[in-house]
Amino acid sequence: MANGTLAVRDLSVSYGRAVQALHQVSLDVPAGSVTAVLGANGAGKTTLLRAISGTLPFHRGAVEAGTVHLGDRPLTGLSPAAVVKAGVVQVPEGRRVFGRLTVADNLRAGALGARSRKEIAASRERVLELFPVLAERAGQRAGLMSGGEQQMLAIGRALMARPAVLLLDEPTLGLAPLMAERIADTVREINMQGTSILLIEQNAALALELSSTAHVLEVGSVALHGPSPELAASDEIRRRYLGVTDEPEVVPEAHLRGPVLERWAG
């Protein structure tokens, strides 16, 4: 498996030329590490992954400036397929398994970038070892599985391409806590087997527990970053995720400042 740090440098991304989504974001995912990115909805987390995996054009987005490298190999400007080939595979948010395909076909779809049958067989073995449930359900349509099983399939499908770096977008989203815990265990396991992981997660506690380093994105820029245990200890994070923010309170008389809107008389 390819090695090297996934390095994002000064990345700026915009949608439709007018909407800037990322502004000079830099971060590293050292080989063999788990790096987490936290942030609110719309902070730019998913955009970051899209920029790495080359899927911005699906959303009329484009990299305006900055680079992404895996080791010394530049990834910016590559097609999604080329990025997969380079060893970086993304598990999309919301799993997005191919619901009308069987579990086995979903796994095959993940291996379409691979070179040899032998490699595919080896990958499959590894995936089924990680997720025995996928072997039991091999012939079933993926759409009929539970959310947790779908998440396992989504991760397994990505692993079929034998990635050096796995990009995980909200893997525990909408999952029951027990299931979330299981997914977390699997992520740990995958990482132990040598795959670096860039983890995007709203569940801050879980993300910080899993990762060695974490970055907090806010409005398209990195607002905070540091070793995960340090961040986990900070009040900052707790407040952020419980809604106590550093923004000033709304003054009740606020409306007196703006124009008044009369009721519409019809």
Binding site: V19, Q20, A21, G44, T46, G61, V219
Partner: protein, 369 residues
């Protein structure tokens, strides 16, 4: 009023109308005829553009509604004959009736027009062409069957839109074509004006939103299915007017004319001219109607085009290839069509005259898909 006189749009409008009114005094029959086809096509294309351009609904059945308009006029205006029947309604009323009939026909299709969207409707409406041709051929009492029917000339306030009685103005004889020209212009201008009013008004906003974001439209209170059906009816009425006018120009309706290629021509018109606006429809209609005539007339002087019957690419074939290619080229290189090109040119000119507006500050944000 003086402010009005300074507006270039006013002068353009007045000049354009003047030109349209003066043309019959100069053009020979061939160009008048071509022009009349172009004007009728423009009326039909404006209607289709309301449907396809403004509302995002594809229709391949436009030729059917043209046929309803054409035959509707003939049926209403003709007297009962030996083989064919008619209602003998005064001709101006028959013209209005034809437009209404086309609308009714569109309304009968509304269970499908309201429920299907976009290209699905396109294929479904293809059926109208085939069903329509079948009816035109078989309902002989109304349509005259394969032979078609004579079209009674329109008579408006004592003026007959026909070659006789003679009418000479400025020493120029105004025959049927010249007279019809004025009628056509008198129909085109309100047709475009009404379409513009609709697109820019309340219905237009609803139509555009159905095209851009159907759910948003419905949540804002737009009854989507009813609107889709309504626009379909409206576009059918435009087609009906175009069809009735065409019938007057032809002076005879024949079923062959209202086939699939006619529908395709109309789609080509609105794409080439520019989707969504009346001006685009008119530009496209002129392009598609006049191009083959230009090539037929001057084809001999063009390279690669050879006279009919001598082998090689004939003018008619060259015209078809050219306008097929124009459809592709416009979509690939000229989004907005001919009218879009004009707008951009105009923007470039005004931009040179005025200092550039300050750019809005780019606030950030991720745009979810």
């Amino acid at each position: 009023m003086s402010e009005t006189l300074r507006r270039p749009a006013f002068w353009a409008l007045a000049g354009g109308t003047a030109l349209l009114l003066a043309l019959p005094f100069y053009l020979d029959a061939f160009w008048l005829q071509t022009g009349l086809f172009a004007i009728s096509a423009a009326i039909g294309a404006i209607g289709l553009n309301l449907l396809t351009g403004a509302t995002g609904q594809l229709s391949m059945g436009h030729a059917f509604f043209l046929a309803v308009g054409a035959y509707g006029y003939v049926y209403l205006a003709s007297d009962d004959g030996a083989h064919v029947s008619g209602l003998g309604v005064p001709t101006p009323l028959a013209f209005v009736g034809a437009v209404v009939l086309a609308g009714v026909a569109g309304g009968l299709f509304s269970p499908i027009a309201g429920r299907l969207r976009g290209t699905y409707l396109g294929i479904a409406s293809l059926a109208l062409i085939f069903v329509g041709q079948h009816l035109l051929m078989n309902v002989e009492g109304v349509t005259g069957g394969f032979n078609g029917r004579d079209v009674p000339p329109l008579e408006l306030f004592g003026l007959r839109f026909d070659d006789s009685p003679d009418l000479v103005v400025f020493n120029i004889p105004l025959g049927a074509l010249e007279r019809l020209w004025f009628l056509a212009v008198a129909l085109l201008i309100p047709a475009a004006w009404i379409a513009r009013g609709i697109v820019r008004g309340r219905p237009g906003r609803a139509m555009n939103t159905i095209r851009d974001h159907e759910v948003a439209a419905s949540v804002m209170g737009v009854p989507v299915a009813r609107y889709r059906a309504g626009v379909f009816v409206l576009s059918s009425m435009y087609a009906g007017a175009a069809g009735a006018l065409l019938a007057l120009v032809f002076r005879r309706t024949v079923p062959e004319y209202f086939g699939m290629f006619l529908s395709l021509d109309y789609l080509a018109m609105i794409v080439i001219g520019g989707l969504g606006t009346a001006a685009g429809a008119i530009a496209g209609a002129v392009f598609v109607s006049v191009l083959p005539q230009l090539l037929t007339r001057f084809g001999g002087e063009l390279p690669l085009v050879s006279a009919p019957g001598t082998g090689g690419v004939s003018p008619a074939e060259a015209a078809r290839i050219l306008y097929g290619a124009a459809v592709v080229a416009v979509v690939l290189f000229l989004p907005g069509g001919l009218v879009g090109l004009w707008t951009r040119l105009r923007l470039r000119i005004t931009a040179r005259r005025r200092p550039p507006a300050p750019l809005t500050r780019l606030d950030n944000k991720e745009q979810p898909a």
